[in-house]
């Protein structure tokens, strides 16, 4: 593999990312499954002295409903317009989404409006009629991973740890997984384009790790909206993730890094389900391959407590990875509540290790 070839492509796809004053909108999936990730994003942005504003009245963009086709496009456009209106009312112009599905939908809608201005007009009318609100389109639209990518060097400077094996001194091997809706429809809207996105690679390189490219890197995790939401369709969803694990396993990755809401949850949970269905585990000796979000990884680099980041709600244990880097953690505190009281413990799976 010639890395210069990728660098040439990366140079072609450098998008503009605003430097401060962000209007932040949350993700349906991530709030449920990675509450610590969104919290961590706001924490390091504050430490970096950046202003990130959240209006409690913002809501879903309806992306999951839209992509499972119960929500019409007109509705999605108007819901997105309402978010823009909240941004406008708060005096912001830089819009940041926590969710990739949202980011893709916002991008698609802005593109639609530029090609079909009458759609924008109609949306404005719908919004006005339904809510009385008006909006200005954002000057800059970014995903939270874009923003984290932008400040990756600042995170290094404040960081305590690097993605290096403390015993061998070798970089940790990371496979990255990009959400499908990050740049597939609009390659120029993603850092690094659609084929070799650089947004996560840039973080891993900066923080000392080594990115492993593997044949099924571009394959979807298998969420497929209705393909997971309905139990009868989940065979598709799990098969897609399995295909990725089978393809990456010979490279012995130390971890999987993701920028999408659903992907880390599926890549985490499906390792458990595959083990319980087929007795197969990936990674060393039943440990699985730890999966994390870029915020969780940034948090580790910055030396935040792993249990503040939310690793206790991952099914695939991250302790082996923490040990490799040399990040201290207190196993006794893993499942305690905020006051240090016990809340019981999850049951141990049959095959996948449990700490």
């Amino acid at each position: 593999m010639k890395i210069e070839g990728k660098r040439r492509i990366w140079d072609d796809y450098q998008k503009e990312i605003a430097g401060d004053n962000y209007f932040y909108v949350r993700s349906c999936v991530r709030q449920n499954f990675f509450p610590g990730a969104e919290k961590t994003f706001l924490r390091y942005m504050a430490e970096l002295g950046k202003n990130v504003f959240e209006n409690p009245s913002h809501t879903t963009c309806t992306g999951i409903g839209y992509h499972s086709d119960i929500v019409p496009f007109k509705t999605a456009m108007t819901m997105v317009a309402r978010q823009f209106a909240l941004m406008t009312e708060a005096g912001y112009e830089n819009f940041v989404t926590s969710c990739i599905t949202s980011f893709g939908l916002y991008t698609e809608i802005l593109d639609t409006w530029s090609h079909f201005p009458e759609q924008e007009e109609q949306t404005r009318e719908h919004l006005k009629k339904a809510t009385g609100r008006e909006f200005v389109k954002p000057k800059n639209l970014a995903h939270a991973s874009d923003v984290t990518y932008k400040f990756r060097k600042d995170i290094t400077h404040r960081g305590k740890y690097r993605l290096v094996n403390k015993d061998t001194g070798l970089p940790l091997k990371v496979v990255e997984h990009i959400g499908c809706h990050y740049s597939r429809m609009f390659p120029s809207k993603g850092v690094g384009g659609a084929e070799y996105p650089y947004v996560l690679v840039g973080m891993v390189e900066e923080w000392g790790g080594e990115v492993i490219d593997y044949p099924e890197r571009r394959h979807c995790c298998g969420f497929g909206f209705r393909q997971y939401l309905i139990q009868a369709n989940r065979g598709y969803s799990i098969a897609a993730s399995k295909k990725k694990f089978e393809s990456m396993k010979s490279y012995k990755p130390d971890m999987i890094l993701t920028n999408c809401p659903g992907c880390p949850m599926f890549l985490d949970r499906w390792q458990y389900a595959i083990s319980e269905m087929e007795g197969i585990t990936y990674g060393d000796a039943g440990q699985g391959i730890p999966v994390m979000t870029y915020e969780e990884l940034a948090g580790l680099i910055l030396g935040y407590d792993p249990w503040d980041l939310g690793f206790q709600v991952h099914q695939v244990p991250v302790e082996p990875l923490l040990d490799k880097i040399g990040i201290p953690y207190d196993p006794e505190k893993k499942f305690l509540d905020i006051n240090g009281n016990a809340m019981g413990k999850p049951k141990s799976p049959s095959y996948l290790k449990f700490y």
């Binding site: 139990q231 009868a232 369709n233 989940r234 065979g235 598709y236 799990i238 098969a239 399995k242 295909k243 389900a273 595959i274 319980e276 269905m277 087929e278 007795g279 049959s350």
Partner: protein
């Protein structure tokens, strides 16, 4: 093992790295004319069995050439050996002999 209410879907993708080329090699040794097929579909267009069933002779012999004999045994029974495919083939592929050879391959290879 836990029953999750579903199973992991099988992959339909043709994987030429893991293809079962035995049927193709068997037929080829008897009748190499399948090599010159241009995939035009004249055989399927004229096929009597294909007019009354889901039988698709072109798809079947293409799948054999791709090492994918999955539906061979059930599909090949639909052929009525009328030989029209062979008449229609612009490249002169001896399709009747190909089908006969495939039947022999099934006997031999299972």
């Amino acid at each position: 093992m836990i029953d999750f209410g579903y199973t992991i879907s099988n992959d339909r993708q043709t994987d030429l790295d893991r293809g079962d080329m035995r049927y193709f090699e068997f037929v080829r040794a008897i009748d190499p004319s399948l090599d010159i097929c241009i995939g035009c579909g004249s055989c399927t267009a004229t096929c009597k069995a294909g007019n009354f069933t889901s039988f698709n002779i072109r798809r079947l012999h293409t799948a054999i050439r791709r090492g994918d004999p999955g539906s061979l045994k059930s599909e090949i029974k639909k052929c009525m050996f009328c030989g029209k495919c062979q008449l229609a083939c612009p490249r002169g592929v001896n399709l009747r002999n190909v089908i006969l050879s495939l039947n022999r391959a099934i006997e031999r290879l299972g």
